[in-house]
């Protein structure tokens, strides 16, 4: 065990930080990550292209796909540095973390050569078409239907809560292709161009952020069979391995500490007494949650290196700390700034969005606790 960053890792971080500072649009914040304005969509692509040019977008990818097989630690460093900067990759972190790897593992040669180069050059935005009105935590009950018609599928149905849908060039879409079998055995993955006729994106109103969540409607959308990832009806197995990659290595701790730092500084700027003992206690406790999340994230990355194909119980443990961390930081920020926190534009204000959604988006907190009960504690089955 050696809990220092190696010289190479430290140098990698320093070079990455410089690259981010040089290429990020000045004034970028986590609000821009959802790409509410067309210029944000352009900024994400320009930033990711620059990152790709410098070898920082997909360093962990295999050499044959343009990476250099950098360690998961360097992948984590990329996440730490981009999150600390308000995630100027927008939704493209998904491309590099799990969509690209899913294509490498399950795609045809044509799909790999079509999709991987643009992803590694930062040219495309993807969205994740999983959730539906009737299929949230119980994702496998999804109903969006694809019916085979010669060399194509015809897709009808709805996806919901989709992030980045308005900015996406492609959708990684889960559809039902068989209704006669147990629900996990009738799911297929389609890679759908978002400009296909019949695809319609609608923003869902909420008081938190513009273009945070969307619906996608599919009306007789024709998708060539060549856009299917993996075999028909075998999509669930791919999704499970994909979600394992989604779960680890998102360095939210780094961003949360930045938010606290900034909010304390904002408080000082407003003449508030941030050293008041009771407030200092709240602040210190929130930082401690961040450090706990950081520690667990590192442990989960270690587990991923040690046992990449295993059940990876620490991934769920890590997420069970990160979600509550965001809420602790949210409430600490509100207590630090008081009513001032509610004025738009502060990190404290933005943290309300992150805190509100962190234990829901990408899988409810309770589902992670279920996984801990099963994988780590071996408790009797509840159902």
């Amino acid at each position: 065990m050696n809990l220092d960053w190696t010289d190479e890792e430290a140098a990698f971080r320093a070079a990455l930080r410089t690259c981010i500072a040089l290429n990020m649009r000045p004034g970028w914040t986590l609000d821009n990550r959802d790409m509410p304005e067309p210029r944000d969509i352009e900024a994400v692509k320009a930033f990711c292209a620059a990152l790709g040019d410098a070898g920082f977008l997909t360093p962990h990818w295999p050499i044959e796909f343009g990476g250099r097989e950098a360690s998961p630690w360097e992948q984590l460093i990329v996440s730490e540095e981009t999150w600390a900067a308000g995630e100027p990759r927008g939704g493209q972190y998904m491309n590099t973390n799990w969509i690209g790897p899913a294509l490498m593992a399950f795609g045809t040669d044509d799909q790999k050569s079509q999709h991987l180069p643009p992803i590694s050059r930062g040219e495309v935005n993807w969205c994740q078409g999983f959730s539906e009105p009737g299929a949230g935590s119980d994702l496998a009950s999804l109903q969006c239907r694809a019916v085979r018609d010669g060399d194509s599928y015809v897709v009808n149905g709805q996806k919901i809560w989709t992030s980045y849908a308005h900015a996406a060039d492609w959708c990684f879409l889960l559809v039902r292709t068989n209704t006669e079998v147990p629900k996990r055995e009738g799911i297929t993955i389609l890679l759908v161009p978002m400009d296909t006729p019949g695809v319609e994106v609608r923003e869902i109103a909420n008081p938190y952020a513009r273009h945070l969540i969307h619906e996608i409607w599919f009306a007789d959308v024709v998708v060539p069979v060549s856009c299917r990832l993996g075999d028909e009806n075998r999509g669930w197995d791919i999704v499970r391995s994909v979600l394992a990659n989604e779960r680890v290595g998102i360095a939210r701790h780094e961003h949360a500490e930045m938010v606290l730092d900034q909010t304390v500084a904002d408080g000082v700027g407003l003449g508030l007494d941030v050293d008041d003992p009771a407030l200092a206690e709240t602040i210190g406790s929130a930082y401690a949650w961040c450090e706990a999340a950081r520690s667990m994230n590192y442990a989960a990355v270690g587990e991923r290196i040690r046992d990449p194909l295993g059940a990876r119980p620490l991934a769920s443990v890590s997420r069970s700390i990160t979600g509550p961390m965001e809420r602790e930081v949210e409430w600490a920020c509100l207590e630090i700034l008081g009513d001032q926190a509610l004025a738009s534009g502060t990190e404290a204000d933005r943290q309300v969005v992150t805190g509100t959604t962190s234990m829901i988006a990408a899988g409810a907190y309770e589902v992670q606790l279920d996984l801990i009960a099963k994988l780590s504690l071996d408790l009797p089955r509840s159902r």
């Binding site: 730092d261 050293d275 406790s285 700390i321 780590s376």
Partner: protein, 312 residues
């Protein structure tokens, strides 16, 4: 970065596990009551384990602390094995008490060969220098307590100042020790409770199949794991109070959560001496309260962060 135990560290862990399985355990601690486990201390001393922090390193010392805590080693050995080496304090006898404040309760107060005094112990308040007192330099007043540690107040009559900066170093090292001990005891309490809820049937099913029960234990398990990894980082980065005080703060939150959750899911049997959960939970109470507890640790986290931002 490498979070894996080396082959030597893994060997150390498994050796310690079997050593403590043979020579320690909650039942033995219970029988000893207010006495410490002197034969075990002799064995640890003879085997060189008490020098592990000097001879091997901070991770080895923290592994020793984790294994000793989960095995409920009933003697004040952590100060010598982990705290003193992290704080750079040498030449101590095997049994060392940690004194935080003039009136504070000290674990194993009456059974120590020496005492490391943070500040406020005796007349030397707040000068940032740790002090060392011998057995003959102190008066110990035993204090009856519900926790499974023999407790007492230690009045310092004479003490030697240690090096400049030793007070801060001692406090940081102590924060790490609190975190490592809480992490290990919380994990042990969760494991014991998980066995209980798997065996105990009500409403014709194991109570551990109720999601409400599962989630209490899962939450504590997660926090205990995070405490463990954060304590290890604290041991490694022991010069950085932001990390060490974060470790102590989060561990105290874990102690509270685990105390409540494990007692809740074990019902009435959980509070009995015989069942054994209290061996861990009443110790968690004491560890949770040391050095001012979560509020004081958290304030130190905030202060350390502010100071680092000012100098950055």
């Amino acid at each position: 970065m490498d979070v894996e135990l080396s082959a030597d560290q893994e060997l150390l862990e498994s050796t310690l596990r079997s050593f403590f399985a043979d020579h320690a355990g909650p039942a033995r601690a219970r029988q000893l009551g207010s006495e410490i486990d002197a034969p075990l201390v002799d064995k640890l001393h003879a085997a060189g384990y008490l020098d592990i922090g000097y001879d091997a390193g901070p991770i080895e010392a923290v592994l020793f602390t984790e294994r000793a805590a989960e095995a409920v080693v009933h003697a004040p050995v952590i100060a010598r094995a982990l705290v003193a080496p992290l704080a750079g304090i040498r030449d101590l006898p095997p049994l060392v008490g940690l004194v935080g404040s003039a009136n504070g309760l000290v674990r194993y107060a009456g059974s120590c060969d020496a005492y490391l005094v943070l500040d406020g112990g005796g007349d030397h308040v707040g000068d940032g220098v740790a002090r060392l007192a011998g057995r003959d330099d102190v008066e110990v007043e035993p204090v009856r307590s519900r926790t499974a540690y023999p407790m007492g107040r230690v009045r310092i009559r004479r003490s030697e100042p240690l090096a400049h900066g030793s007070g801060d170093a001692l406090r940081r090292a102590w924060q790490v020790a609190i975190a490592a001990e809480i992490a290990a005891m919380a994990s042990a309490a969760v494991a014991l409770s998980a066995r209980h809820v798997s065996d105990r049937h009500q409403f014709d099913r194991p109570i551990g199949s109720f999601q409400a029960v599962q989630h209490r234990l899962a939450r504590s398990y997660g926090m205990a794991q995070a405490s463990r990894w954060l304590a290890r980082r604290g041991a490694w980065h022991n010069a950085d109070e932001f990390v060490t005080a974060s470790a102590a703060t989060f561990a105290c939150l874990t102690a509270r959560e685990t105390y409540d959750n494990t007692h809740q899911v074990t019902g009435a049997i959980g509070i009995t001496t015989e069942y054994g959960l209290v061996a861990y939970t009443t110790r968690l109470l004491a560890l949770h309260s040391e050095l001012g507890g979560a509020p004081a640790h958290a304030r130190r986290v905030a202060r350390a962060r502010r100071a680092s931002k000012r100098t950055a």
